[in-house]
């Protein structure tokens, strides 16, 4: 294992070099996305919501309620994009992973490297997002580390799941449509992002319970403005995210190696 880390760094180095080519888009999206969201939904819809429910949503102004969820969404989105596109490229578009596997790298090290580089992007995205939230008064200064931390955790763990799922994709179009329709969209819609999960009918709530976004959001609201959360719930949510991440990485590493040596 001690040799594994440096080798995956080399893969991450390549990934970061490729990302660097897209730095303008990454920065523009990193800043533009939260600003647009906050202006339209946070302030626009928020004003409406607040006007109609003077006690706020679950007792806080809508913007405060929304902010941790938006942050976690952005982190998970970054993890999804920064893992799935390079993985599709590596296996299907330019088959670069096959070239990497012809060097002294193993499939597992390639998987590690992709996730590692995605983590850098996730940290960047969540930090920028948090700064914008803070500028809009949606979070307190003191929430910086815990909020960025928990969102990054969710993003990286989801990235690991995306690693396992994407590495099984046979064609890019099927993967993208199935993944978006059956996984990403339901997760973003039914994770208590825009309204508390309890508002949903019970037969839809299970989507939230298995959704890393919901767990990250619950943790985030607790860390941001002290939304009620039992310690065991916090522990459970954290453990759930970690377990998802570990399983994803384990399966992903295995699929990478198997596919690159088949």
């Amino acid at each position: 294992m001690s040799l594994t880390a440096p080798a995956s760094f080399r893969v991450a180095e390549y990934r970061l070099r490729s990302m660097w080519k897209w730095r303008n888009s990454i920065i523009a999206f990193g800043v533009g996305n939260p600003v647009l969201y906050l202006v339209s939904i946070g302030l626009g819809v928020g004003a409406l919501v607040d006007a109609n429910s003077p006690d706020g949503v679950t007792g806080v102004p809508y913007l405060l309620f929304l902010a941790p969820a938006l942050l976690a969404t952005a982190a998970i989105q970054a993890g999804q994009d920064e893992v799935s596109f390079p993985t599709l490229a590596g296996f299907i578009w330019n088959r670069l992973f096959f070239a990497m596997r012809a060097t002294s790298l193993s499939g597992g090290q390639i998987a590690d490297g992709v996730l590692l580089a995605a983590s850098v992007r996730i940290i960047f995205t969540t930090t920028v997002y948090w700064l914008v939230l803070w500028a809009f008064g949606a979070v307190d200064l003191g929430s910086a580390l815990p909020l960025i931390g928990v969102s990054t955790l969710a993003g990286v763990c989801w990235g690991a799941v995306a690693l396992a799922l994407t590495s099984r994709a046979k064609t890019d179009s099927t993967y993208i449509s199935v993944m978006w329709r059956l996984v990403i969209m339901p997760m973003f819609l039914f994770s208590g992002t825009f309204y508390p999960l309890a508002v949903l009918p019970l037969w839809l709530q299970w989507i939230g319970w298995i959704s890393p976004l919901w767990h990250a959001t619950e943790l985030g609201r607790w860390l941001s403005y002290g939304a009620p959360l039992e310690p065991w719930q916090a522990l459970l949510s954290t453990a759930y995210l970690l377990a998802l991440g570990a399983t994803g990485l384990l399966l992903g590493r295995r699929t990478f190696e198997a596919r690159l040596t088949a």
Binding site: P6, A7, R10, V11, E13, Y14, R17, S18, K21, N94, R95, L96, F98, A99, M100, R101, A102, T103, S104, L105, S106, L260, T261, A262
Partner: protein, 341 residues
């Protein structure tokens, strides 16, 4: 460098794939069907396994340039990937650089250069960045890579394209870059899977020249090809593969001497007439082979045999007397021509 004994790779195929695979062979001759890699029934699921490489023996010594010649689907790439320690063998023995790829893959690959059949370059990066990142995968320090990349850019004649995106390169340039990339770790064994397929004649000659230079520096070359002229040019020794098996082995000249006459007369009488004329040529040459578009007369006295054909009253549309080549060896051994068989 390489030692293989009874090396075998079986691919499992699903029952559905098997059916699709079978269809083309049903309406062709038995001869064609028997050249397909063997399929072996396995297990309860009704799936089958395809013996892509079917028990081959190989020995390649240091400094040698060795070729694997074979038609589409012969098992060349499968063999190369097993040698390159990227594909696990199903059975048999394999030793690369004195080690077993099943257990010491990364150590072996650190000393290999691999040029896969399909280019696997990063088209978003520049020429130089492709070389740099590939060198970094091996863990080579940047300080060592910078001068090495300059040498490789010279070698591949890509200096003036160094900062261009790979996207903008021609096929021949990409191939040269892939070869340069395979050399970045200064390998002692270079594996080239169809290095010049799809290139125009000029690009092929440039590549041959580069590979010739490499040979001079003592790098061991193993290459696959289905161009016999390429095999004759680049390989000191080669094997001919057909349907996963090795059907002949030797130096190109020896193979030609063993399996063919010295000269070949190629005559065309028009598509339908070739088979009509054939019975009337009895006694001319050692052997006559009928191809869809022409007859090949194997002989040591080409000119006089051609005169004899004309003297018997058969005026060919076109006629050519040439030296025998590996193509003829391949035709003799496998019953079909090498390219577009």
């Amino acid at each position: 460098m390489i030692r293989a004994r009874a090396l075998t790779k079986a691919y499992s195929r699903a029952a559905s794939a098997k059916r699709a695979e079978r269809r083309p062979s049903e309406d062709t001759s038995a001869k064609r069907a028997e050249r397909r890699p063997s399929e072996v029934s396995t297990g309860s699921d009704g799936g089958r396994t395809l013996l892509a490489v079917d028990g081959i023996d190989l020995d390649v010594a240091a400094g040698e340039s060795f070729g694997i010649l074979g038609a589409n689907g012969a098992g060349k790439s499968t063999t190369m990937r097993m040698i390159g320690a990227t594909l696990q063998r199903t059975s048999g023995e394999l030793t690369i650089l004195g080690r077993d790829p099943a257990h010491e893959g990364p150590v072996i690959r650190a000393h290999l250069g691999v040029v896969p059949q399909q280019d696997t370059l990063d088209t978003e990066l520049t020429v130089r960045e492709n070389l740099l990142t590939y060198g970094r995968y091996f863990g080579l320090p940047r300080t060592a890579l910078v001068p090495r990349i300059e040498e490789l850019l010279d070698f591949a004649q890509l200096q003036d394209k160094r900062d261009e995106k790979v996207e903008a390169l021609s096929g021949g340039m990409k191939r040269r870059l892939t070869i340069a990339r395979g050399l970045v770790n200064d390998p002692s064994l270079l594996l080239l899977d169809e290095p010049t397929t799809g290139l125009d004649p000029q690009a092929r000659h440039i590549l041959w020249d580069r590979l010739y230079q490499l040979r001079e520096t003592g790098v061991t070359l193993v290459l696959t090809t289905h161009y016999m002229d390429e095999a004759e040019q680049l390989c000191e020794r080669l094997v001919i593969m057909d349907a996963g098996r090795i059907v002949a082995e030797g130096a190109p000249a020896d193979l030609i001497r063993t399996y063919s006459s010295r000269e070949v007369v190629e005559v065309r009488f028009g598509t339908n007439r070739n088979s009509e004329v054939l019975p009337h040529l009895h006694g001319i040459g050692d052997r006559i082979e009928e191809l869809p578009d022409r007859l090949l007369v194997y002989t040591d006295t080409g000119e006089s045999d051609l005169q004899e054909i004309v003297a018997r009253g058969f005026m060919p549309v076109t006629a050519l007397v040439r030296r025998a080549s590996l193509e003829d060896v391949f035709l003799r051994l496998t019953g079909r021509s090498l390219v577009d068989g």
